[in-house]
């Protein structure tokens, strides 16, 4: 027995002495607020206080806390109380998975130093990784714990920086995929390929299954349905369990379910591997004689997207200035701090899967097909999601959990290890991009000629989306009369490339925005002014021939102009540089249906209920959609009761991707709320100016001093069980692209521009970021604090893309070899919110989530070039690459 004091209470737990303290707290003490992100001390999510010292609970033998005082996020202390309030007030928690670690690390600091400086907080929290926030709001919260909470806001919700609706749970240690374990659940582990490419066959599986504690062993042969899945049905190609050979390192080939605490030695699982020559280089993979990774895809080409407008060759020939360049990007790992995790069980004959996800309805449909179940026999309940950024759009463990539940009839749970998560889930596509951009003597862009090859890895995933999205966006937000843009997705035996915040557009922006700077130099025009001169304006046609409206790029660039001029003037020291880059991004699916449906109802008891099926992965849709709905109905936001997401309880609000939830689900929520409001006003015979209040079972409608009352208790309930309800669907009006990529791929675009100030150490090739100023047109800021949180977090990921993140399969499957920015790597960020309302968006709102990442990396590269002249041809711009590029300038 290990006896210690846990959050002030004496406990004695019967755990193995060398069990990780994190495991003892979670499994034996049942306190799941302590999160496990890496089991290696690399992420700090499991930080607890032992006798007042912050420690990674994953690195301590349980027995070592014998007699000690252990404090977790479930505990109470003066520091924690102040910190929780400050985190809520500052919007410091997004997804919430790092929040317990941040709180505990900060609690250690505050115990000695109640009013730390920014530098002290930055250092104290340097051991906890956050992938969502960019750290600014966390640092601000830790440095500002003395304020009292502001008065609750009144009046319209839209436009207010309301604390997130799910914030209280986040600062208490929210319940993520790994945090719910049904009684008696088996543990599930996958056997995965250690090779990039290999065939395999099994030995005596039944003997392994007969080992003590093993409940079953499962292979592809056990899959009752179609052993193929994929997010884009015509391209679906990925088996839930590989059948005869693995096409990438980390691919699952078998499953072992066992009793909790009885893990068998999986290193002697009976499987024989025959390694095969892997094709890791997309350039070689597209040679005519290259072996095919999928027999039906000649040249290993998954697909190609293209946009052709005008005559690029002639236009470039006639241009006053032309620049040509190529640049290469790397695999980038999403590195959310929550590895994939979930649990599944049977409820009657319904398979219930509770797991982290961005796309519950897609999960349901793919899992049902694999398991040969009708979709309505699968219920997906998204847990709190500890970051997604695109990778949790694809199914991962859902069919594996389901298969084990169906085979055993018992609840099953599964948690990926960090290495497993990194090896087996999707990545950002590495890109090799080349081409030319021309302008006339006055700096007006004449043509863009772009070609990109994207390494889509072993399976399709979102490769087609990247191939189609990139050509549409390759001009950047600039009027470009002649365009030839092609992007092809090429298979390799690399990890599956899928969706990652921007679907290829961040890579293309690196090419286009760095060439823009070189063009500006050639034309002798200031880089900001060149961009402004070409910025898309209302009525301009895009590369796809779409006539644009609500074009905010000019406003963003204009807003940066004084900052730009100030920063240029300050670049008086060698090594100082400033760079700028723009972005635009179409919100929602590219030329495909993309509806969201939202329901809102009032019960006979007067509970206003919002069925909100959009998964909040930290970006804030729970709060933003509720703000929109509250104002649409005309009730205070704190009167709303939220349900969902849950495929059994919420209508389909689509997937959390493509910056679509505020715009598409928000628009559906607004429509549903307005529809319900219209119903109420009609019943009360009141006009649109009337106010509505709901108290107990009475709705009071007041107009010009006259009050009318609707007695909800007297109304019959409708099909949804409400006295009054409304459900509305919104689908963005788009049109297909023709063979030249002409058409209306998106109904709404968001715009932005960012400016980076930095210092390059020319002798070491290191880069120190000094300040980033970001202007983003989001149409209407529904919640400004959540919006700036998106900007700061997107910039942090852009910093990683530019300066440090390079996933090498088999070599960087952890968070100490794969580096993401820490507190010390994100400079001060000044956000400027631009509101150019879009007629399609709810109250004018546009998407923002992906836009914010796009300009950061090219702005950094442009600033490095401004500082040193160095042209970076491969990102990340690691110190040795920067130094080599600096030397290329001088030799």
């Amino acid at each position: 027995m290990i006896a210690f004091t846990l959050n002030g209470q004496p406990v004695a737990l019967n755990a193995p002495p060398t069990r990780r303290l994190s495991q003892m707290l979670r499994e034996d003490a049942g306190l799941t607020g302590t999160k496990v992100g890496c089991d290696a001390g690399d992420c700090g999510a499991c930080t607890v206080l032992v006798d007042g010292h912050a420690l990674c609970a994953c690195l301590i033998p349980a027995a070592r806390v014998q007699g000690a005082q252990v404090q977790t996020v479930e505990g109470k202390s003066a520091e924690l109380t102040r910190l929780r309030a400050a985190f809520l007030r500052h919007g410091a928690a997004q997804c919430g998975i790092c929040t317990p670690g941040m709180l505990m690390a900060a609690a250690e600091l505050l115990a000695d130093n109640p009013t730390p400086t920014v530098d002290q907080a930055t250092m104290a929290l340097g051991g906890v990784l956050c992938r969502c926030t960019g750290y600014a709001k966390i640092i601000a919260a830790v440095c500002d714990t003395s304020d009292t909470d502001p008065q609750p806001a009144s009046g319209p919700a839209v436009g207010q920086s309301l604390p997130r609706i799910d914030g209280a749970a986040k600062v208490a240690g929210d319940s993520f995929g790994a945090d719910y374990a049904p009684d008696g659940a088996l543990i599930l582990r996958a056997i995965r390929s250690p090779h990039h490419h290999a065939s395999f066959d099994f030995g005596d599986l039944s003997a392994f299954a007969a080992r003590p504690g093993v409940a079953c062993v499962l292979t592809a042969q056990d899959i009752p349905g179609r052993n193929i899945f994929g997010v884009i049905p015509p391209f679906a190609d990925q088996p839930a369990l590989a059948e005869t050979h693995a096409r990438f390192r980390g691919e699952a080939v078998a499953l072992v379910a066992f009793e909790h605490g009885a893990e068998p030695d999986l290193t002697d699982f009976p499987i024989r591997w025959t390694p095969l020559a892997p094709q890791m280089d997309p350039e070689l993979a597209e040679q005519p004689d290259a072996p095919l990774i999928h027999a039906n895809r000649p040249g290993n080409r998954l697909t190609q997207g293209r946009v052709i407008k005008g005559d690029v060759t002639a236009a470039l020939a006639a241009s006053a200035h032309v620049v040509e360049g190529s640049i290469q990007t790397s695999f980038v790992e999403h590195a959310y701090i929550e590895p994939e995790a979930g649990a599944a069980w049977l409820d009657g004959d319904t398979l219930v899967i509770r797991a982290c996800t961005q796309a519950p309805v897609m999960d349901r449909d793919d899992t049902a097909a694999i398991l040969n179940l009708a979709p309505d026999r699968v219920r997906i309940i998204p847990s709190a999601v500890g970051g997604g950024f695109g990778s949790k759009l694809d199914i991962s463990l859902q069919p594996l959990l389901g298969l084990a539940v169906l085979k055993t009839g018992r609840p099953v749970r599964m948690t990926y290890s960090r290495a497993e998560s990194m090896a087996s889930t999707t990545k950002r596509h590495p890109a090799m991009m080349r081409g030319r951009i021309g302008c006339d003597a006055t700096g007006k862009i004449t043509a863009v000629d772009f070609d990109g090859r994207f390494d889509t890895g072993a399976y399709a995933s979102w490769g087609p989306t990247v191939a189609n999205r990139v050509p549409v966006h390759a001009t950047g937000p600039y009027l470009t009369p002649h365009v030839r843009a092609t992007a092809r997705a090429i298979h390799t035996n690399g990890p599956v490339s899928g969706a990652f915040r921007g679907f290829g557009v961040p890579q293309a922006a690196i090419w286009q925005e760095t060439l823009y700077d070189r063009l500006a130099e050639k034309a002798g025009i200031d880089p900001l002014e060149l961009r402004l001169r070409n910025a898309l304006r209302d009525g301009d046609p895009s590369a796809t021939g779409q006539i644009l409206h609500a074009t905010g790029i000019g406003d963003c660039l204009t807003a940066l102009r004084p900052h730009w001029q100030r920063a240029l003037a300050e670049c008086t020291v060698p090594g100082r540089g400033v760079g700028i880059a723009s972005c635009w991004y179409g919100c929602g699916n590219t030329s495909l249906p993309n509806p969201s449906t939202i329901r809102i109802g009032i019960t006979t008891a007067g509970l206003v209920t919002l069925h909100q099926g959009a998964t909040d992965i930290g970006q804030g849709s729970n709060t933003v959609i509720a703000q929109i709905a509250a104002d649409g109905l005309g009730v205070p936001i704190n009167s709303l009761h939220l349900i969902g997401p849950d495929t059994a309880l919420t209508p389909d609000a689509g997937k959390t991707s493509a910056s679509r939830q505020t715009y598409v689900s928000g628009r559906a929520a607004h429509a549903a709320a307005q529809s319900l409001r219209a119903t109420i006003l009609r019943r009360a015979n009141a006009g649109d100016g009337a106010t509505i209040s709901v108290e107990r079972s009475l709705i009071t409608v007041t107009e010009n001093g006259a009050r009318r009352v609707i007695d909800l208790a007297a109304l019959p309930t409708d099909a949804y069980g409400y006295a009054l309800s409304a459900q509305e669907t919104y689908d963005p009006p788009t049109s297909p692209l023709d063979e030249n990529g002409q058409g209306t791929p998106y109904a709404v675009y968001g715009y932005g521009a960012q400016m980076v100030e930095l210092a390059v150490d020319a002798a070491l090739g290191t880069v120190r970021l000094l300040k980033i100023t970001a202007a983003h047109d989001l149409g209407r800021a529904i919640n400004p604090q959540l919006a700036t949180g998106q900007i700061e977090g997107g910039i942090a990921q852009g910093i990683g893309l530019a300066l440090m993140e390079e996933y090498l399969p088999g070599r960087t499957e952890n968070l100490h070899d794969y580096l993401i920015p820490t507190t010390g790597d994100v400079p001060p960020i000044q956000s400027i919110l631009i509101e150019v309302p879009d007629r399609e968006g709810p109250l004018g709102a546009k998407g923002l989530g992906e836009h914010v990442l796009i300009p950061t990396a090219p702005a950094i590269l442009n600033a490095i070039r401004h500082a040193t002249g160095a042209i970076i041809t491969k990102v990340p711009a690691l110190p040795h690459r920067v130094l080599a590029a600096i030397k290329d300038v001088t030799t």
Binding site: P16, R19, Q23, A54, I60, A63, G126, T822, L878, H880
Partner: protein, 274 residues
């Protein structure tokens, strides 16, 4: 089955070790990352032995208990010759790692990129190894025999790091180069200790880590620094630095870059002290 012991005395620890090899566990920050839910094997946890913790005077020098944590080192009042060690202590992982990780564990883990090694090499550190038969002392450079390899016998415990009096003169500086601010494995790191008299450098100790199988002192370069303070950094000859190092290409940097960076860092460290 796992046997776990956390004795309160060194004698008891050595007695347990005499029954057969056990995995020695100090802070756990290098051992636990490779473990499953539970650390397997027979484990001897050294962290309850009071005599292995703390920094005490010894023969005009200092004795640092092997299980002294990085936080303790960073917060201790130490002579300027150990400023480099204290600077390194604040760059070993983040705060959580510094609260758990120990200086002895860092040496026994014997990573080529161990942050503790260059600052100890420049103060002529010795290690104290204790077995049932007694205690022996080894220069740190002899203790580290290769990547992940040390001269510790299976029945010995690294009990202390000893800094002799002649290592405690002068001022020191540590510089670490990585691709991010915190929680980063070094691309290269250097530690420098200079003793000066008026405008002359009378003693110089330089070490480079993460650029060879084990961190190295640079004797030739040290000699070249003896002389006027003015221009000392410029006297560091890149060829002489390169001659000692044998860096590799890896995910963090190229070998050529490491060699070049090492010279630059040494010059800066010397520059910061002169």
């Amino acid at each position: 089955m796992t046997a776990y012991a956390r004795p309160a005395s060194l004698t008891e620890a050595l007695r347990l070790l005499s029954y057969g090899p056990r995995r020695l566990l100090a802070g756990g920050t290098d051992i636990y990352p490779g473990a499953g839910e539970t650390l397997k094997g027979d484990v001897l946890d050294l962290t309850a032995i009071a005599g292995l913790r703390g920094i005490t005077p010894l023969d005009g020098g200092l004795r640092i208990g092997a299980c002294t944590t990085w936080s303790t080192i960073a917060e201790a009042f130490l002579p300027p010759a150990l400023t480099a060690l204290q600077q390194a202590a604040l760059q070993v992982g983040g705060r959580q790692i510094q609260n758990a990780g120990t200086i002895g564990g860092n040496l026994c883990n014997a990573s080529p990129a161990a942050d503790g090694v260059p600052p100890l090499l420049i103060v002529n550190a010795q290690v104290e190894l204790t077995g049932l038969e007694g205690t022996r002392r080894l220069p740190l450079a002899d203790f580290l025999t290769g990547p992940r390899q040390t001269a510790r016998a299976e029945d010995e415990v690294l009990t202390a790091i000893l800094i002799p009096a002649d290592g405690l003169t002068g001022q020191s500086q540590f510089l670490k180069l990585g691709a991010r601010a915190y929680l980063v494995i070094s691309i290269a790191m250097v530690a420098v200790r200079l003793t000066t008299d008026g405008d002359q450098i009378t003693g110089a100790a330089l070490a480079v880590g993460a650029c060879s199988a084990t961190a190295r002192r640079l004797a030739t370069v040290e000699l070249s620094l003896i002389g006027p303070i003015r221009g000392a950094a410029d006297r560091i000859d890149p060829a002489a630095v390169a001659a000692v190092l044998s860096p590799i290409d890896d995910i963090r940097a190229t070998a050529a870059y490491r060699t070049e960076a090492a010279t630059e860092l040494l010059r800066r460290a010397v520059g910061a002290l002169t």
